[in-house]
């Protein structure tokens, strides 16, 4: 049996209030038929992971523009592991330099990163493809 709906937690870690990207993504995912749990601003990795677990999401999407990406992504992954929730995927977006993207992807801190200029269509298809591959029958 298949899960009927993709659930995504969209969150904004860090102290900055630049949520334009996160909100545009939230809206685009809703328009693609997903259920988006929006966490709001200023989330700590702990808050994000706890929300992801309670909401049983398939994926966490966070937008980081504060320059703190090298600490935030690994921390979220680590907490997911601690909570036995390795199956929840992590994607991110924001102002992240190419070489940091490579490092974060290689060391498994994040499944995908999108930088300014990525289209919502691109992001939606990545999610759909990734989740149909990794999930399939959930039960």
């Amino acid at each position: 049996m298949k899960k009927t709906r993709i659930r995504v937690l969209v969150g904004k870690p860090g102290l900055d209030g630049h949520d334009r990207g996160a909100k545009v993504i939230a809206r685009a995912l809703r328009d693609a038929g997903m259920e988006v749990i929006y966490s709001g601003l200023h989330q700590t990795p702990e808050q994000l992971v706890e929300a992801a677990i309670q909401e049983d999401v398939d994926l966490i999407g966070v937008s980081v523009l504060s320059g703190a990406h090298m600490t935030i992504f690994p921390r979220i992954k680590e907490l997911l592991k601690e909570q036995n929730a390795k199956d929840i995927l992590l994607m991110g977006g924001g102002t992240i330099p190419e070489e940091d993207i490579a490092t974060l992807i290689e060391n498994g801190s994040v499944e995908a990163l999108f930088t300014p200029g990525a289209t919502t269509t691109e992001i939606v298809s990545w999610i759909e493809e990734k989740l149909s591959l990794s999930k399939g029958d959930v039960v």
Partner: protein, 546 residues
């Protein structure tokens, strides 16, 4: 429309038009031609006026850039006060004429560097300032009676400003000689930028306390910079930026009057801060309309008598949100056009973005290019030779009129909510901006709007690697060590006394600024002062709109 125009229109319609759509960056449709018929209703004296004359459409000074060029003010700050101090000295040596402080997020949100919420963010997007000690280091060997300093700080503006005044005091520079600006614009935080701390009422009190203190003690200081920049960055249109910013401005004027000030006591020290996006003429029209609307309202509605109260003086920054990650060098070109629009719009000061700001803090090299962009504009292009060269252009004057009409329409809507605070409570601005941002994104995805390097003219080959500025994680540890040492070495009894005193004042109605200055002098940290105020004022909560 004249027969002449109609016969042209017939010929135009008979020919093929390339695939549009022809609209501004704010999705406003544009006609193929503007002609005398469009501007027939304009009365030069009433609607434009000479530069330095009401309604100041053509500029706030009679001589504009023939007298003095705009202030080239590059926003800078990163890591600790020591590193930023070195960058400031470099910029001054390069010919920059004013300083502009970027603070890091913990400072902006009122957290000390050792707060758990600050983890990973110290010194990242600006300089970390925890106490007077850091402020002293930031301006070490920079004579504060000779530079003007702009500080981008809002919710905790009173504290950082107090630190600046005391740091100058320690240099032997009296407060009345200081020139500069604090952003201090909390309304746009609720509307767009979201770096708030306290709820609206106590925030407005802090602002009017600053107005009063500045009037009596720091008279050359711009006590607020009413900002459209962030409204635009959050995704608004040019018209929304204009209307919402001016509506905020009027709200501050009303708050000042309500707090017992005469409008002419503080209105001359109000300044503005706009965004300059890529749509050249739309931006120029926006800036020209802004001056006219402000002058008209200040004169006719708020009955300002002092001419200086009517002048809308503003800083401009080119649009960070227009920069692209791919083909980053193209950002230099975008920024140059945007800068030219700002200058043709009559800006008083200008920050040009560096090409790499889309991915990191700017490197020294890219900052230099950005500053050189302004210098080429000032010294080579000739646009400064005459004042307001686009006045009388059928197109620009039409757009300017449309901007004014559109803004007045928004003011009426805002009034229906009982003013700006009511409209914030009902999420009016937030919804308008969210819709505009989403529409813009959809236009890009449908390719109705082409952004070079993003959805058109994309390079097959990967971009060359850029050298980006990196902040060493050691910066955070060093800053925390410094803070810990300070907390041990200062007179902690004095800190406690000043904080208790501040709390009592916060519970009453007296001006808070002298008490904040006492706490700052005792080396109380920003976080400690904010904690006291939060205790009394409470905290604002997010209203999310999609």
């Amino acid at each position: 429309m004249s027969n002449n125009f109609l016969s042209w229109k017939a010929k135009y319609d008979a020919q093929k038009e390339r695939k549009g759509p022809f609209f501004t960056v704010s999705s406003v449709p544009i006609d193929p031609l503007y002609a005398p018929g469009h501007t027939a209703d304009i009365d030069y004296e009433r609607d434009l006026g000479n530069p330095g004359e009401y309604p100041y459409t053509r500029g706030v000074q009679p001589n504009m850039y023939r007298g003095r060029l705009w202030t080239m003010r590059m926003f800078a700050g990163f890591a600790t006060a020591t590193e930023t101090n070195a960058r400031y000295k470099y910029l001054l040596k390069q010919g920059q004429t004013g300083l502009s402080v970027a603070f890091d997020m913990p400072t902006i949100m009122g957290y000390d560097s050792d707060h758990p919420r600050a983890y990973g963010e110290v010194g990242r997007v600006g300089v970390a300032i925890d106490s007077l000690q850091d402020m002293e280091t930031l301006f070490q060997d920079i004579p504060l009676d000779q530079v003007s300093t702009s500080m981008t700080i809002n919710a905790p503006a009173s504290i950082l400003w107090a630190m600046y005044i005391v740091a100058a005091e320690k240099q032997g520079v009296p407060a009345h000689k200081l020139t500069g600006t604090i952003q201090n614009d909390i309304l746009k935080e609720y509307i767009a930028q979201k770096s708030w701390i306290f709820p609206p009422d106590p925030s407005m009190r802090l602002i009017t306390d600053i107005f009063k203190y500045a009037k009596d003690n720091v008279p050359k200081w711009n006590s607020i910079s009413i900002s459209g920049y962030h409204i635009r960055e959050a995704g608004s249109t040019a018209l929304q930026e204009l209307a919402f910013t001016l509506a905020d401005g009027f709200a501050y004027v009303e708050a000042g009057i309500k707090a017992g000030l005469d409008v002419d006591d503080f209105a001359p020290r109000l300044s503005f801060f706009f965004n300059s996006h890529t749509d050249f003429f739309e931006e120029i029209a926006k800036l020209r309309a802004a001056r006219r609307i402000w002058a008209r309202h200040m004169k006719e509605i708020y009955h300002a008598k002092n001419e200086k109260s009517l002048l809308l003086r503003f800083h401009t920054q080119t649009a960070g949100c227009s920069l692209t990650g791919p083909q980053m060098e193209n950002n230099i070109v975008r920024t140059a056009y945007q800068a030219m629009a700002a200058v043709l719009g009559g800006t008083q000061s200008l920050h040009t973005n560096s090409m790499d700001e889309v991915l990191a803090l700017p490197s020294e090299k890219s900052v230099q290019i950005a500053l050189r962009t302004q210098q080429v504009l000032a010294y080579e292009t000739g646009v400064t030779n005459t004042i307001d060269p686009l006045a009388g252009s059928y197109f620009v004057e039409t757009l300017t009129n449309q901007m004014e009409e559109g803004a007045e329409e928004y003011f009426r809507k805002i009034d229906e909510f009982g003013g700006v605070l009511g409209a914030i409570r009902e999420n009016f601005f937030q919804q308008e901006i969210a819709d505009a941002a989403y529409r813009y994104q959809k236009e890009i995805e449908s390719k109705d709007r082409i952004i070079v390097g993003i959805n058109g003219f994309v390079n097959e080959k990967k971009d060359d690697k850029m050298d980006l500025l990196k902040i060493d994680p050691e910066v955070e540890r060093a800053q925390v060590r410094k803070l810990t040492a300070l907390k041990q070495s200062r007179d902690n009894i004095r800190v406690q006394t000043t904080l208790t005193d501040l709390k009592e004042t916060a519970q009453g109605t007296d001006n808070l600024i002298p008490k904040i200055m006492d706490a700052v002098r005792a080396y109380a940290t920003e976080g400690e002062i904010i904690a006291v105020l939060k205790d009394v004022f409470g905290e604002y909560r997010e209203q999310a709109v999609f």
